[in-house]
């Protein structure tokens, strides 16, 4: 059994140590907001926070997490910065299909926690690991700036 601290709760899960956290979240615990896009840390749809840092859960083995707290999209609204990002996403009408947006919001929240007023270059550096196939990048940028000012 592996103990994982997810969104403030401890979950004891009977999974192989090499099983990526993405599939533990989705198929064992039932938190479906974190998405599968590529499985090779190329698209960012599976981004979660591990100890406040954005990580790609599709390549994070459950056995490597230890006691570090995991936050997923389902709980990011409890974080004041996360709530500001979610609001900015809706105010700017960023979302189209929405499938990548859990990961985008997790990356943007981590950025704003570390860099409260990012410039465009800092946004590029933090967000270029997250693909949006619908092409909402223009609004993602605008929403991050709006959240920074909120």
């Amino acid at each position: 059994m592996i103990d994982l601290n997810i969104n403030g709760q401890t979950h004891s899960v009977d999974v192989p140590a090499d099983m990526p956290v993405l599939w533990v979240l989705r198929d064992v615990i039932g938190l479906m907001g974190t998405k599968y896009g590529c499985g090779i840390a190329q698209c960012g749809a599976c981004t979660i926070h591990l100890d406040g840092q954005p990580v790609r859960s599709c390549m994070l083995p459950a056995g490597a997490v230890g006691a570090a707290p995991i936050t997923t999209i389902e709980a990011i609204g409890a974080n004041p910065v996360g709530a500001k990002v979610q609001k900015a996403w809706l105010d700017q009408e960023v979302v189209q299909c929405g499938y990548c947006q859990s990961g985008q919001i997790m990356s943007a929240t981590a950025l704003l926690q570390q860099t409260p007023k990012p410039n465009d270059a800092e946004i590029n550096a933090a967000m270029s690991g997250n693909i949006c196939r619908c092409g909402t990048y223009v609004r993602i940028r605008a929403a991050i700036h709006a959240a920074a000012e909120a």
């Binding site: 090779i40 190329q42 609204g77 809706l90 092409g135």
Partner: protein, 715 residues
């Protein structure tokens, strides 16, 4: 959470006690009535009103991210007189009699046709329901309906001040005959249409609560993943089944003639099990297919004349005698859709019925393939259609659902089958590869006197909808080629259908125009250069009979600062189109660095899509469509070797990222012309403007997509 949308719908269809403005005509009845042309269509196909004042709108189009649910709801709400905050939306069940698109002839969402298809039918449904509710109130109060009005879901009698909610009136309204004639609001009375309304589907998409097909959870469900033969036409030779079953969490292994599925407690077990199964293949007749031969085959086939799509005034003869001749070949690659949500299907097939949970653009086709595989009647298959994490035409095909049904029919329990991203890309059905030959003749004043365009490629229509072919002509393959915005006195367009072995081709965001606007607008730029004219000036000179096209061109030129000075290495390119019944002009400013890298700086778009429904969605679709098209133009290229697709994931099938995206400005023309489509316009507008901007910046003329990955350096 298990959502049985079909069950909800069934309950409302047959609810007794008249609590719902449900079907006074049942489904079969309305089908007959429509066939006989005897009665007006009942608004209840699209609108349900509960005694609790719940207002549910049934969406005939599927939401793939394009915002159609909000726009379609606006059309109904405008005439029904309800606020956007008073409604709930649900997907239409498979029922072609009620929900077939009048444009597509079947219940399908594609081709940027939804708003065009819905413009009249949804406003009329809203108006009919409102008239019935007002009539019910007037009868109850013994007053003239003309003295009543409806607002925000309430009918008021102005003189007496009496009012009743729609919920209070629904049962009585339901018993009334459906009015035949409806008076729709004039444009001047619109309160919702033409105003930017917040999308209704997005709040759940920012907090993880939105449920896509891949998120469906059904009690007792197992999760599987699939490998099909990497060569089209090949079969499964052998697997190491024992090794697969030894992987902890693996429950079942299912072999099909050309694929193997491993089912487990979770995706990880299934994936590990599939790797352990190590399938071997009989690769079959297409094992030698490669891109070099495919391109050579197209080049050779297009040396011969094709099926004539348009032939005005002997264009080849006029070009032969022209003062200036221009000729070029344009090539476009196979493309994968690669929506962010990989292909997935959840099925529970039982002896007496089946449930299908999926995101599909074609629910009737999806229902039919499951029914066939399961030996059931279509009506025994409940389709639960979900939000899609992108579709772009991929989910207009049901190959993956058919495969899932062949697997699920062998299992007694519900199973969710997820294709890995690698399976999703290598087993995509691809946008055709095109090989187009063009020629033009110019007179001494630099005007076009003749134009020929031979389109070469496979036919999606012939596979997907054979009855859509017109005497060997695939109308989609020449869309945007036969009707350009320009006035050219002699024009000939023909189509050479050439199917490449071992490749199946499919719809892809704006297939016809995405292909032909690139070719036509790139070649027009070449003609402008041959005439020694400015690209915008040259286009204007051929638009005297096309005022709407001229207006968007002028607006985009003005807003982009066309003609203004630019730094060295920076250029502007323009592209103009009439596609999906909308006019669009795009000016793109790019930098070509000394190392030959392309940097996208600024895009300016002017759009005239007729009457606008949700202006912010129009802007969003153009922004996103452009990025989608620029991604394609710079990077997208599906190639084959030894019958296998060589790209497999986002590391080698690259997408544009935020650091590469240009600034985008969209300017909309206020119009009361009939509404045009918008979802694919931006994609169609991307690549020609990019080619033309690169030419302006560097002097290099690019005719083969994609441009990135070394093409610019070798141009």
């Amino acid at each position: 959470m298990t959502i049985h949308r079909r069950d909800i719908l069934r309950a409302s269809l047959f609810a007794s006690g008249g609590l719902l403005l449900g079907f006074s005509l049942n489904v079969a009845g309305s089908r007959l009535a429509r066939a006989a042309g005897a009665a007006a269509p009942s608004p209840t196909a699209f609108i349900r009103i509960g005694a609790d004042n719940s207002i549910t709108l049934i969406m005939p189009d599927t939401e793939c991210g394009q915002g159609i649910w909000t726009s379609a709801a606006m059309l109904i709400a405008e005439e029904l007189e309800v606020g956007m905050d008073q409604i709930k939306l649900m997907p239409a069940p498979p029922d072609a009699a009620l929900y077939a698109s009048p444009l597509l002839g079947e219940q399908a969402t594609g081709g940027s046709t939804s708003i065009i298809a819905d413009w009249t039918r949804l406003r009329e449904a809203g108006a009919r329901a409102r008239m019935m509710l007002i009539q019910a109130a007037a009868s109850k109060w013994h007053v003239d309906p003309a003295t009543c009005h409806a607002a925000a879901g309430v009918v008021h009698h102005d003189e007496s001040g009496i009012s009743a909610t729609y919920g209070e009136l629904a049962e009585a309204a339901n018993a009334l005959p459906v009015p035949g004639k409806v008076d729709l609001k004039p444009f001047s009375a619109f309160e919702l249409i033409g105003t930017s309304q917040k999308r209704l589907d997005t709040p759940g998409k920012v907090n993880g609560s939105a449920v896509y097909g891949i998120d469906v959870q059904v009690p007792g469900m197992k999760i599987g993943t699939v490998a099909a033969c990497p060569v089209i036409g090949g079969t499964l030779a052998a697997i190491d089944e024992d090794a697969a079953r030894r992987v902890p969490g693996v429950r079942d292994v299912v072999k099909l003639s050309n694929a193997v599925a491993v089912i487990g407690d979770h995706f990880w077990a299934a994936k590990q099990g599939l790797a352990a199964a190590a399938p071997r293949w009989n690769e079959g007749p297409n094992a030698g297919v490669n891109s070099h031969d495919i391109i050579a085959g197209l080049a050779e086939a297009t040396l011969n004349p094709g099926v004539v799509a348009r032939d005005d005034n002997d264009a080849p003869g006029k070009i032969a005698g022209a003062l200036t001749k221009v000729e070029a070949v344009y090539q476009l690659p196979f493309l994968s859709h690669a929506p962010m949500e990989p292909i997935n299907t959840t099925l529970h097939i039982r002896p007496d019925g089946a449930d299908l949970w999926v995101g599909t653009q074609v629910p009737v086709r999806a229902q039919a393939v499951v029914a066939k595989a399961a030996g059931l009647k279509p009506e025994q298959v409940a389709v639960h259609n979900y939000m899609m994490g992108g579709a772009f035409g991929r989910r207009l095909d049901v190959d993956s659902i058919e495969q899932a049904a062949a697997i699920a029919v062998k299992l007694g329990y519900p199973v969710k089958l997820i294709w890995s991203r690698e399976e999703d890309i290598t087993h995509d059905l691809f946008r055709p590869r095109y090989y187009d030959r063009l020629s033009a003749g110019l007179d001494a004043s630099g005007k076009l006197i003749a134009w020929t365009h031979r389109v070469g490629g496979s036919s999606v229509m012939a596979r997907w909808l054979p009855e859509g072919m017109k005497g060997g002509l695939d109308p989609d393959a020449v869309e945007g080629a036969t009707e350009t915005p320009y006035d050219v006195p002699a024009i000939k367009v023909d189509y050479v259908r050439h199917e490449s072995p071992g490749v199946i081709t499919a719809w892809w965001r704006g297939v016809g125009p995405t292909h032909n606007v690139f070719v036509v607008e790139g070649f027009i730029d070449e003609c402008a250069a041959a005439a020694g004219k400015d690209p915008v000036e040259f286009r204007r000179a051929h638009l005297q009979k096309n005022p709407r096209a001229l207006a968007v061109l002028n607006l985009a030129a003005e807003k982009s600062g066309w003609g203004g000075k630019l730094p060295p290495g920076v250029g502007r390119g323009v592209s103009l189109q009439y596609a999906f019944a909308s006019f669009l002009a795009h000016v793109l400013e790019v930098e070509v660095t000394q190392r030959g890298e392309v940097r996208l700086r600024r895009a300016t778009v002017a759009i005239d899509c007729g009457q606008r429904v949700n202006p912010d969605t129009i802007t969003a679709q153009i922004e996103g469509g452009l990025i989608f098209g620029l991604s394609m133009a710079l990077y997208s290229d599906i190639t084959h070797e030894n019958g296998r697709v060589q790209q497999s994931n986002f590391n080698n099938y690259r997408m544009l990222r935020i650091d590469e995206a240009p600034e985008i400005q969209v300017f909309q023309i206020d119009s009361h012309e009939s509404p045009g489509g918008i979802g694919e316009t931006g994609t169609a507008a991307a690549s020609a403007a990019l080619a033309n901007a690169i030419y302006a910046a560097s002097g290099k003329r690019l005719r083969n997509l994609p441009f990135g990955n070394g093409a610019l350096q070798s141009a």
